[in-house]
Structure formats: C-alpha cells, structure tokens
Amino acid sequence: MLEPRTPVLTTNELPKSPLLDATGVAKNYGAVAALRNASLSVLPGEVHALMGANGAGKSTLVKILTGAINADAGRILIRGQLLDVRSPAAARRAGLLPVYQEPSLIPDLDVLSNLRLTGTPVEPFRAWVRELGIPNLDIRDTARDIPLAILRVLDLARALAVEPDVLLLDEMTAALPANLAEKVLEVVRRQGDAGRSVIFISHRFVEISALCDRATVLRDGSTVGVVDIEPGIEEKIVEMMLGTRIEKTRVAARAANDVAVVGGSRPRLSVRNLQLGTKLNDVSFDLANGEVVGVFALEGQGQDELFATLAGSIRPTGGTIDVDGAPVKFSHPSDAIQAGIAYVPGDRTEALAMQRSVRENIALPFSAGLRKWGPIRMRREQVVVSGAIGRLQIDTRAQGEVQRLSGGNQQKVTIARWIAANARTILCFDPTRGIDVGTKQEIYKLLRELAGQGKSVLFYTSEMEEVQRVCDRVIVIFGGRVVDTFPVEEADEPALMRAAYGLPRGARADVGILADVRPASDAEAAS
C-alpha cells in the first residue's frame, strides 16, 4: 500500500504563508472556559494534527473555525484575509469543511436528500464512498438506519465531494473498525498530497505518526506548542498534552492458570450456538470469572448484535446463554443486569441522559427496579458516585448536564455507571472511543483491576493494540461466527487481521499503513 510518509514540511522551512491562521481564540460557557487562548496555523497541503486531552478544547476550536459556535475572542485569517464565520454555511463558502465528532447527517432524510440539502454533488460523493471502502451504499437509505461507523464515513465523503481547502476531521476514526479507518487514512493523506490542508484530531498516535506533518497541542483551552511529527516525538506530545509525564503502565495479561484460580472452574458466561437471524450464526465462547476476553472484528460482522443480545437488548433466535452454569433468557436489559451483566454501548448518545447531571447518570441503575422507586439514600449515592468519578477522573466542571461534557468525558460516564453499580460482568463495546492517552491507560488498568477482583469483561475494540494491552484471550468474529480464538501471546496483528478477513491462518492479509508504521512508533506502549 502506501509508503510510510516522510514529513515534507517542517516548522523551520515555512515555504508558504499559512492557509488558515487562528490566534487568541477563547470561548466561555458560563463559568467553564472551553478555550482560553488557542492558536492554530495550517499550511497549504499540510495534514495538521490537533492534539489534547479530553476536554482540552479541540472540538470547540473546530466548531468555532467552522461557524457552528461563535468565539468570545480571537482572530481567524484564511489566506491572509480576516474571516468572520458566523454560520456553517459561511464557513463552507470560505472552503472550510468539518466532519464533527457527532454524525451530522439529518437522521430522517435519506442520503440523497442529505446531499441535496448541503448542495453536495452526487457523483463525486459516490466515488468517494467507494474509495472509502463502502462498495454498496444505497443512497435512498434513511440516515437513521445506517450504522454509526458508516455514517461517519458518509460524513467524510460528503465533505470531500465539495473539494474543500481545509478539511477538519474531529475524531473521524474513533468509531471506525480497522478496515474503514485504514481507508480514511489513505484518503486523507492523498488529500494532503493534492495540496489541500487537513486538520486531523485523533487520540491514536499511530494515526498521527502515519499521517500528519505537524501537530498543535492544546492543554486546558490554550495552545501549548506546535511540533513537527518525527519518530520519537510522541512522548513529548504526551507531556505537552497532560502537563506531566504519565506513569508507565504496561498492563500485562495474566497467565491462563491465574484465571482459573480466581474464577473457579465454571465459566461466568457461556454462550453456545447463539443465533440471531442472519446476523449471528452459531456463536460459541466462554468468559471466565476474572477474565478479559477481547472481541475483534471488522465493521458489521455481527459484533454489535452479539453485544446487544448478551445485554438483553435483543432476543436471540437460537442458542443458549448460561450464566454461572445456569441457563438464562433475557427479554429486557434489566434481566441481564439482574444477572450481573452490564453493557456499555459504543454510542454514548445511546447510554446517556444528556440533559441530566453526571451524578444522575451514574446513579441511574440504582433506581431502575420497581423496588428501588422509593426515597433515595442521597449520602450513600454521593459516596458511590464520587468514587466512580474519581476512579475514571471525569472532568466534572460542567457537571450540571452531561451534554456539556467533552466527548471523552461523556464516554467515561458510561463506564463509571457500572463501576458504581459494581457489576460482575461488563460488556464493553469500544469503551476507549475518543478517550485520550492518559485516560486510556487508566481504563486499561481499571479493566485489569476488575478482572483481578474476579469480575469478567467482554471487550470489543477497533484498535488492535488494545487487544494485546488488556485481554487474556481474543475471539475474532467474521460473518456472524467466531472464526478463531487466540491466547493473547499469539494475537499479533497480522494474525488478527487475517482472521478478521476470514482468511485461514498463515495467509497474508492486507494490513496496510498502520502495520507498516507500527514497529517504529508504538507510542502509547512506550510512554
């Protein structure tokens, strides 16, 4: 595939004047300062990373640059011209096109209408969609019926189709499985080669190293530095982002016999021949007490349905689920919760009451059952909730309403809920989606700790290296069935990828750009 990219532009050279130049941007929400003093300068043809911890203000800056919100202060120049972006429409006219952190297609319109609404030409859009690895999109499909990952790609294709001067991608790859993320990176990179600029936000260092020329780092709403991307720069970026060096935590998977000791012989969860229409065929696996089992799959292989079924959200059409050796039938998520199985969905808008407080969101399961409808023991709740908040280091400056938290902090609330409820089994669907490096480490540690306490975790991830970081075992799903199981020592990326594409062991899979740069910059592992 693509050659590893060698940066063509560096700060010192500055061959051209910046295409986009923002300085002194500030934005307050009541008492919360989302941005204090941010600046960002992007050269023509450059892929520029915007980095920062959760809540640093990246999304806010993108929204300001694209007219979705108005800044309190700051100056934005485009091609040297002062720009007053008062609305997304104005930003479009100036050649700035965003893909926001949340999908922006209108849910009740079909794709074609969405294109017409934004005046996007259809043919280029189709071409981009194919290019991005979705061969058979029906543009008469209603956006609401399209899975999140595909929606994100459509958002991108829609932006690409109008050939923007500056493309702003806010955590574009966070919700994508490996194969789609791969394509996105390829396309973005060619965008840079074609002389257009891209502002790229991601918490994945691999992608940054593979793709970007320079990075601007935000901390607490201020720009703390601009660096050239070169091998070994990751550690410096992390330090700039977080203000401190983070503690090295290589979470080691424990040996299989350890698991047996903690867990006893009976598996916590035992799935046999699970069937769900055409989506799941004959899925079987065990999850022991004290075990973290990874699930790896490409987009749309049935992983969503598997999790939803285990969580009691959908009824399976066949097969059995045993919990602690006893067969169970879930007809509602509350049945699963009763059996100690909690589900953290990948899409946080599915898990959070956005207008309610962090506290109420975390405490929600406590009131769920009929017996818990009475008076709430407020002090006990306070203790439990703040314990969970502390454990996940949730930034609660804007705790009145969850919708005011940054994306990553919202994600943490979805996990904190089940930590507080002390669930015995957690089904995590991509829990680190959009979470910054520092917190990711915390979450890995947390999952391992839970396992250490004898709890069990089923863990779907779209990032291959997470598998090795936290799991004891990995199952790979392809076409709605479990095609392979690896102990963590054997779960290297070529092997996972091969299995994920449904290829037999030993065959060569197309693993692309990420695999190529991997050995050089395993940033998070090293830090």
């Binding site: 307050n28 929400y29 009541g30 008492a31 919360v32 300062a33 204090r36 911890a53 959760n54 809540g55 640093a56 607490d220 977080l242 969580a311 959200s313 509602h332 998520p333 509350s334 919760i337 009763q338 589900y343 969905p345 808008t349 599915e350 898990a351 959070l352 009451a353 956005m354 207008q355 309610r356 109420e360 969101n361 405490a363 929600l364 399961p365 406590f366 009131s367 769920a368 059952g369 009929l370 818990k372 409808w373 009475g374 008076p375 709430i376 407020m378 280091q393 930034d395 609660t396 400056r397 809920r417 910054d436 520092g438 917190t439």
Partner: protein, 328 residues
Amino acid sequence: MTDIATMPQPVSFGRRIKRFMADRPLIPLIILLVILVVILQILRPGIVNERWLANTAKFAIPLAILAGCQTMTMLTGGIDLSVGTVATMSAFIMATQIVNQDPAVAFLLAMLPAVLIGLVNGIGVGVFRVHPLIMTLGTSLIGTGFLQVYQRTVIASGAKIPDFLNWLGTGVTYGFPNALLLFVPVAVLIVFMLNRTGFGRLLYAVGDNERAARLSGVRYWQVIVALYVLSSLLAGITGLLYIGLIKAPSLSLAEPLVLPSVAAAVIGGTSIFGGRGGYTGTIIGALILTVLTTLLTILQMPEGGRRILFGFIVLFVTAAYLRIVEDR
C-alpha cells in the same frame, strides 16, 4: 488529567445577578409574579388584601395540581390531556352518588374512572407506544361520552355537594384557604418525589433518553403506567376539590383548566420534550396565570383587547424568564 479549576475572572455585577438567578430559576419567576401583583394593585388600589389572596389561592390550587399532572407527564416527554375529563368525571360522580350512597362508597366510585383512565392511558403509552397526546385525547373523548351516558341515569336523583368538599373548596381558616390542607402535602409529595425518589429520577431519565434508561435496566412501561395512574388520581382528587369550590356539577366542569394547566407547567420551565423541569416552577406558573386572569377581569376594555393582552403577557413572561435563566 485536566485540573478541576474554574476560571477566576472578574465578573460584572449584572452578570453575577444573572448567574445567581440562573442557578435559582424560581427567583425570577417569583419576581415576575410580584410585578403582576403590583400592577394589579396600581390599577385597583386596595384589591390586594387578605380576601383576595385567599381567593387567588383557591383558584390557583386546582390549576396547580392539574399542572402537576402535566409537569410529571411532560418530564417523560408526554402530556395528559385527559385530566380535565377525569376531574369532571370524579366531581360529577361524587356529586350525584353522594345523594344516596355512603360518602366512602361515593368517593371510591368517584375515583374509579380516574384509575381506569389512568391505567388505559398508561398501557396505551407505555406498552403500545401510542403518542400520549392522542392517547389522552382519545380517552378523554371516551370518558366524556361515558359521562354523558351516565348523566342520563342520574338526572332524576339530582346532585349534592358534600359539606366536607364545600368546606375544603371554599372555606377559609385564619385567612388561609382550607384547600391548602390538601395542596401543601400534595405539593411537598410531588417535589420530594421528583427530586429524591427513584421513581422521580426515572421520570427524568425516561423523558431524556428512553434507550439509555432501558440499557440501565429501566422497564419503560412500568414507569409510564405508574405515572399515568398517578396523574389521573391527582386529577380525580382535583375534581373533588374543584366541585367543592364551584358547587355546580356540570359536564364540562374542569375542561377549561386543561390548556392553562399545560401553560402553567411550560411557563414554570418544564420542557414539553421531556427531561427538564420541576414542580416548584409550575406552582408559580399557576399563580401567574390566576393573577393574570384577575388582572384582565377588572380591566375595562373590550373582550377582544383583553384576550390580546393576555396572549402578549403570557408570551412576555415566558420570554423574559427564559432570557434571565439561560446562561448564554
């Protein structure tokens, strides 16, 4: 990670006041109410006296309880348009059954349709997922029909207002309307329920994001059925109070309260889309509407002008309140 620090920044006095009010949305609402009362006093000096206060409270109370039904249902993204019919039914049945039944039996008979309608509403909305507006509109049509059929069977026996309800509805003790004896516990209960009980939490959660509530183990239909039954029960009790106040059982007794009850809840800051609001604001909203009605009654102007003015004041009050409370 990110340090938990708020911005130490000099804030202007105006902004501080605004933020203070935004944190306590009740205060601006009360201020708006007081302004209306002052205007009333200026227009008719001397009107604001003990007797007026008691009368205002008497009429605001039934409205406030029905608005409580709206508040609770609106929190879940619903609405209960059947409260008017339910209140009328229980009032009418009470007044006609008391003639030759034991009071306790009459009371139970009066509350029976309330429970039934609440149950049907709850099942329709919670299980069959019918839109609450249509569901409650439908049951209120059905209820009205039944009431009219029923009415024909009792024309001969006449009607009577039980003395107790009369005392509760119109009586005043030491300057306080007796209706407060009913209202204060009801209000305290609703406020407590919304803020400090699991059920209250669920109303907000279900209204905000039903899927999230479901994934947290909440069974939607249970919450909704309980809610609509509760709402209907409150409406039924309001009907009894109201018949004590008006003392004339008619087939449309409480219908005129339905739209104002929705308005009171919305003016009080409850969102019709669910997930946001509370009962204390609603109570002030009901008071504002009652005072406004008085204000317009005593104004000497053509009826058309009065209605125009009413519309504009309602709009102004809501808009002003939003401006003050919103921190943008």
